[in-house]
Subunit: 207 residues, 2 copies
């Protein structure tokens, strides 16, 4: 008997089935594949808004189904997100992790995943939300950089903060070097947050 | 011969003469008295906007002249700041350090200290400027707290950042406990910044 002592239809046992959205290299996806996947969580689907995203190949290499939902193929964002949410829930995803996903999600999408939608962002929010966060921080002259995992809401990087980690880089002038220093923080913080989500230790915002 | 090899009238030798402004307990003033005072810097005057500020007693105990400039005793902020700047420069102060000084300074005051006016603020600026910074941060749910030393400009905690230090407090709910955790960071970061200012390693904003 796998999955423990069973339970009613409302009860979920075993690893949390999650979907991952990614637009780029997918190093955070890889960190999840290498750590929580098949343990506390199971990555059941990976979707992207960019067909060329290397993240899709990482997913394929790990045997995870992938799909691409390009904005131009749909009448509007809501329709794109509705199609994406349908595909992800058909794969069994109950929660979603944004790992370098560069598009905003519609409220309709978020409502489909009451177990939570997590994002990882390369700044100590609420400082430097949005695009080019590390560049913004370097231009501002900050000496402490960091990463944030937060629940996604309708705003730009405004949802409840789940976890943060910082690194002091008092002489930082090169955004690429800062980003390289932040990567290892992301790669441990995001799996930690997914573990806590799977363990029921995080309370997603109500919607 | 003290003061090194001398120099022309534009050249300054010996410890940097600084003034400290404080409104409260003065623990940052005490940290400066215990570290840089009489070494890299000399605290030549301590002023306050509050006659009851315990910081004044700390200064007196260290033999540093003190004065209080209460807003109500002057027609406006500019007049108060003008009187305060005059008293500080008469004591020989070339730079000013705000150590828990809770009032805004006028541009006229700042212009009197081209060597720089430094402030220490209990947040990782640009997040949570202004009053009740730690309370703001706790209410926002951040997991990383910190302190910032910055040059003062006409805005509220908006001047160029000089130094920052962070501490991860993922379970913080009590602002007083966070503030207690930040105090040691302030007490090392602010003297470090004053040392760098005295060494000519910091460039104050032009005005």
């Amino acid at each position: 008997m796998t999955g423990g002592e069973g339970g009613g239809p409302e009860r979920y046992g075993g690893p949390l089935p999650i979907a991952v959205l990614a637009s780029g290299q997918g190093t955070n996806l890889q960190a999840l594949l290498d750590t929580v996947h098949g343990r506390e969580a199971r990555i059941v689907a990976v979707a992207s808004d960019r067909p060329a995203a290397p993240a899709l190949r990482r997913a394929g290499d790990a045997g995870v189904p992938t799909a691409t939902f390009v904005r131009a193929d749909f009448p509007d964002r809501a329709a794109r997100d509705e199609a994406m949410a349908g595909w992800l829930t058909d794969r069994g995803a109950r929660a979603v992790v944004l790992a370098g996903y560069m598009a905003l999600l519609t409220p309709g999408f978020l409502a489909r995943f009451p177990a939570g939608v997590l994002n990882v962002h390369p700044s100590l929010l609420p400082a430097f939300p949005g695009l080019r966060a590390v560049e913004q921080a370097v231009e501002h002259g900050v000496k402490v950089f960091g990463v944030t995992v937060h629940f996604v809401d309708e705003g730009v990087d405004t949802g409840p903060i789940v976890a943060q980690r910082a690194v002091e880089l008092p002489d930082a002038t090169d955004p690429a070097a800062v980003l390289a220093a932040l990567r290892p923080l992301e790669h441990s913080l995001l799996p930690d947050a997914v573990r806590r989500l799977a363990a029921g230790a995080l309370r997603p915002p109500r919607r």
